[in-house]
């Protein structure tokens, strides 16, 4: 089974939120119900003037050891056999938010209108059409990349600042933490 994952080079992220916009657009994510499949979170660190920032574009990481699948009381969350992506079956979900409570990355989102959980599907419909997920397609600087997990899993680092310990759920995301060259 070919599986996929994300590769994030944070130093290239300009916080334009093209990934967020693209995600909402492609997936027609409902507006005004508190649902953001993907979100760029900006963290400030230090005290003025010794201050720095980190921009972390995050979504569901389609973890190998996904807690959400284990804790869902109605078995609404499962893996797609073709690629191991983690999917929520809207017809089964009862909106109990257990998946949200256990997810280290706050990926499942509660739709305030339908009272069910939704999250990033990894745009499996695009993958099936031979395309990349919408977010990685739009990212203008190459900060957010996507590809075969076999190509990504050894690249860069398993974790980064402000990211939950990857040993918990084995998320399919890697980080390029190297700074720019030169001074």
């Amino acid at each position: 089974m070919e599986t996929y994952g994300w590769l994030l080079d944070q130093k290239r992220c300009v916080e334009c939120r093209a990934c967020e916009s693209a995600c909402k657009q492609w997936n027609h994510v409902e507006i005004g119900v508190g649902v953001r499949y993907r979100q760029v979170r900006v963290y400030e660190m230090g005290v003025f003037p010794k201050v720095s920032m980190q921009a972390l574009s995050g979504s569901c990481h389609h973890c190998e050891g996904a807690y959400c699948i284990k804790v869902c009381p109605v078995k609404a969350i499962s893996r797609r056999p073709e690629d191991g992506t983690v999917q929520i079956d809207q017809s089964k979900c009862v909106g109990c938010q257990q998946c949200y409570a256990f997810c280290p990355y706050a990926a499942p989102q509660f739709n305030q209108r339908t009272h069910k959980m939704e999250k990033c599907t990894m745009c499996v419909d695009r993958i099936d059409a031979g395309l990349q997920p919408a977010c990685a397609t739009l990212c203008p600087t190459g900060a957010l990349q996507w590809g075969k997990w076999s190509d990504i899993s050894e690249v860069g680092s398993a974790t980064t600042g402000n990211f939950a310990n990857p040993k918990q759920t084995a998320p399919h995301i890697r980080f390029i933490n190297d700074p720019y060259p030169g001074k």
Binding site: R17, I31, D151, Y180, G182
Partner: protein, 749 residues
């Protein structure tokens, strides 16, 4: 295989699939924000370009049954490099905004104000145009053409033709709050519009308040990312730590409005230590001719002096100046609001910046600021030469005619318009025509509201029911960029000529029309000779577009151009050796004698910013345009609203502590002209002597169901100006001072 973006694309076969299948798709105007049925194999991809901002990144629209399903970048395009920013990706959120203006309307309640119900009544286009034409004629007959005010960019060309044909002297736009100072300085120092930045080949990038990374202008942001990836050093002078600072090698938290001092001191170091690029400077600038004056002029601006003004250490200023000059590829960009328009001394700053580029020897050279190599698109006057236009008579209410260098640019002054209408020329303007501008775009919007109320008859053309629309007598619903055909010449990343079609991806929704249509229809009624062709027929905008395409060598007609998608004319980059600055020898001008001849400064002198912290107003007031929003036009876009719904008063926790202000607590920000209330957001990214507010929020229109009443208008505490203020301060470039503000804050009990 190295893991690059390209390889990832290859390995997943992501490029090229044209037909898509999506589970949830929008069905149309009313259905856009609800999940709908699946996208079938009839979906097509249309090549066009984005219309959110001027680089016009190449774009592909996936369309089914006339409905836009997805917008993405156009692979291979030099501007977006195959991508869009968050605003561009949310384009359908503008097109399908349920609040859009749908029909022409007229006001039935004569009382104007945001608390008044205008009593809109739907009317036909014919009635709207007849009414407007009748009013224009009536006012011109009674008071002259100077009683009309058009608030619009100089486009479309058909609208400018109408303005010229009617002899209307008062057309104004926002360029003074954007890049006007740079335009004036470049005209006389390098001889043109050097706003292309060859960042990727630069060795050293100096950024004075320049914040285009944070603004997500991706054509620039990508350049900075590439520069850093190539090992270039980037130094950012900014009173706040932004995404641009994060992208930089070094951040200097400079005292607001003192960048000029640092730039002058850097020139001092580079000149006194003879670190400038002698080959370029001797051959291509007038430095040699005015060397004595130049050396003597900058001698007093030492790094030690600049430290006292700016708070940047003298040793750092000298070090950065030396590193910049000796890097062999230094660039200082200037284009756009940040730096060009913010302070009363911005004209001098932009001049100093231009001198730094000349001293670095990178003007129109690799790694420097270069002139765009563009496709020349003829305007309507070139295609259909008009009869002679009448002379324009009467006073410019914004006072532009008092600033000779601004007058040459044919742009306007938003910052002085309200004062001119209310104080200097009260009652002169009887009718105003607003095209795609809102009151939020002005410093001190309450004063602009007052000025609007002093006008008898107001027309507003827009695609959304903005605050301006709320004050109008006649409203014209405008088509937006996804509904219009046009030809766009690129001029941001234009090392070789490129042109793109802007394609009507969607048919105009409801009764929306273009400003060009309005111009022709008013022209038929008011000045037919200017809109009639030799054979007696009227100008047809579609035929005009075909003719423009043909004459620009882009295709036989628009349809053919549209089928091509993008036309590029690759040519080797030949650096300029003569510069049309007005110098008799065709050189770049460090010393600008033309400025001196008209009472301005041949070399930039130090001027403090207009407003200094005082006992009453001890804090600097800063504003910014968030990267996810476009100035003041995107806050009602549902997608963008959800990402950034409102603004806040951003202040340092150390400052907040002294005033016992907690996160989220409402504070009032006051300046000498007004006050706003906002929730406090405590952040270490800002100096403890400043408060910062995002621009674009605080729309008052009750018809903007998402943006209306949300947040506060940053401009309400920004003083506007009179033209006399500018003259007295030596602001010959008309910098609009949109951050030249001091304020105080207090918690709201």
């Amino acid at each position: 295989m190295a893991l690059t973006r390209r390889n990832l694309l290859k390995s997943t076969g992501a490029a090229g699939a044209a037909l898509l299948t999506v589970p949830g798709a929008l069905k149309g105007f009313d259905q856009f924000f609800r999940p709908a049925s699946s996208l079938s194999a009839t979906a097509t991809k249309v090549t066009t370009c984005c219309g959110i901002c001027s680089p016009a990144c190449g774009m592909q629209a996936t369309v089914q049954d006339g409905v836009i399903q997805f917008l993405e970048g156009l692979p291979g395009d030099a501007h977006g490099e195959g991508h869009l920013c968050g605003k561009g990706a949310a384009g359908a959120g503008f097109l399908y905004d349920p609040d859009r203006l749908k029909y022409p309307m007229k006001r039935t309640n004569p009382n104007k104000g945001f608390d008044e119900d205008p009593g809109w009544v739907r009317i036909s286009w014919t009635e709207a145009l007849d009414t407007i034409a009748g009013k224009m004629k009536g006012y011109i007959d009674a008071y002259g053409a100077e009683s009309l005010l058009f608030i619009t960019l100089p486009g479309p060309d058909l609208l400018v033709r109408l303005i010229n044909a009617m002899g209307i002297v008062n057309r104004t736009d926002h360029i003074d709050v954007c890049f006007q100072t740079d335009r004036i300085i470049q005209k006389y120092t390098t001889g043109g519009k050097t706003w292309c930045n060859d960042f990727e080949n630069a060795k050293y990038i100096l950024l004075f308040g320049w914040d285009m990374v944070s603004k997500a202008k991706i054509v620039y942001a990508n350049g900075v990312v590439k520069a850093r990836s190539n090992g270039a050093k980037v130094v950012h002078f900014s009173p706040t730590y932004t995404a641009t600072s994060r992208m930089s090698s070094e951040w200097q938290n400079i005292k607001p409005g003192t960048d000029l001092a640092v730039a002058l001191a850097m020139i001092n170091v580079i000149v006194s230590e003879n670190l400038y690029n002698k080959e370029f400077v001797d051959a291509y600038s007038n430095f040699g001719q005015y060397e004595a004056q130049i050396r003597s002029h900058f001698a007093e601006y030492t790094p030690a002096w600049a430290e006292t003004e700016s708070g940047v250490a003298a040793a750092d200023i000298a070090r950065i100046a030396r590193e910049f000059a000796q890097s062999g590829g230094g660039i200082v960009p200037a284009h756009k609001k940040t730096l060009c328009a913010n302070y009363m001394n911005s004209t001098q700053l932009v001049h100093a910046v231009s001198i730094l580029n000349i001293l670095a020897g990178t003007v129109d050279r690799a790694g420097g600021r270069y002139f765009p190599r563009t496709v020349a698109i003829p305007g309507v006057d070139a295609v259909y030469p008009p009869p002679a236009y009448p002379a324009k008579k009467g006073a410019r209410v914004d006072g532009r005619d008092k600033l000779p260098f601004v007058q040459e640019t044919d742009s306007g002054l938003f910052s002085t318009l309200a004062d001119g209408m209310l104080t200097k020329y009260p009652g002169q303007i009887k009718m105003a025509f607003w095209n795609a501008y809102t009151i939020l775009a002005f410093p001190n919007p309450p004063k602009m509201e007052q000025a609007m109320k002093s006008v008898e008859f107001v027309v507003a053309m827009d695609f959304l029911p903005t605050d301006t629309v709320s004050m109008a007598d006649i409203v014209l619903p405008s088509a937006m960029y996804l509904e219009l055909n046009d030809v766009v010449a690129r001029d941001y990343q234009a090392k070789y000529p490129q042109a793109m079609p802007r394609v009507a991806v969607s048919a105009p929704i409801f009764e929306t029309k273009s400003a060009g249509y309005v111009a022709i229809e008013l022209g038929k009624r008011l000045c037919p000779d200017y809109f009639k062709l030799a054979d007696g027929s009227w100008i047809n905008p579609n035929v005009l577009l075909d003719e423009k395409v043909k004459r620009a060598g882009l295709g036989e007609n628009f349809a053919e151009f549209k089928a091509k998608g993008i036309v590029e004319k690759p040519a080797p980059f030949v650096p300029r050796t003569t510069f049309a600055t007005g110098d008799p020898n065709g050189k770049c001008q460090v010393y600008v004698p033309q400025f001196a001849a008209k009472g301005a400064e041949a070399l930039p002198k130090w001027h403090p910013k207009r407003e200094q912290p005082s006992a009453d107003f001890p804090l600097y007031y800063l504003t910014f345009i968030p990267g996810i929003h476009r100035r003041n036009t995107s806050e009602n876009n549902r997608i963008l609203h959800e990402i950034m719904p409102t603004n806040a008063a951003i202040l340092n926790p150390a400052l907040a502590k002294t005033m016992n202000i907690k996160e989220g607590q409402t504070v009032v920000i006051r300046s000498r002209v007004g006050q706003i209330e906002l929730p406090a957001h405590l952040s270490e990214i800002i100096r403890p002597d400043a408060v910062m507010v995002a621009h674009g929020f605080g729309h008052r229109s009750r018809y903007l169901s998402v943006a209306g009443g949300n947040g506060s208008r940053d401009g309400d505490v920004v003083p506007d100006a009179s033209i006399d203020d500018f003259i007295a301060a030596g602001n010959y470039g008309g910098a609009s001072c949109i951050m030249d503000v001091v304020c105080n804050i207090a918690p709201v009990a």
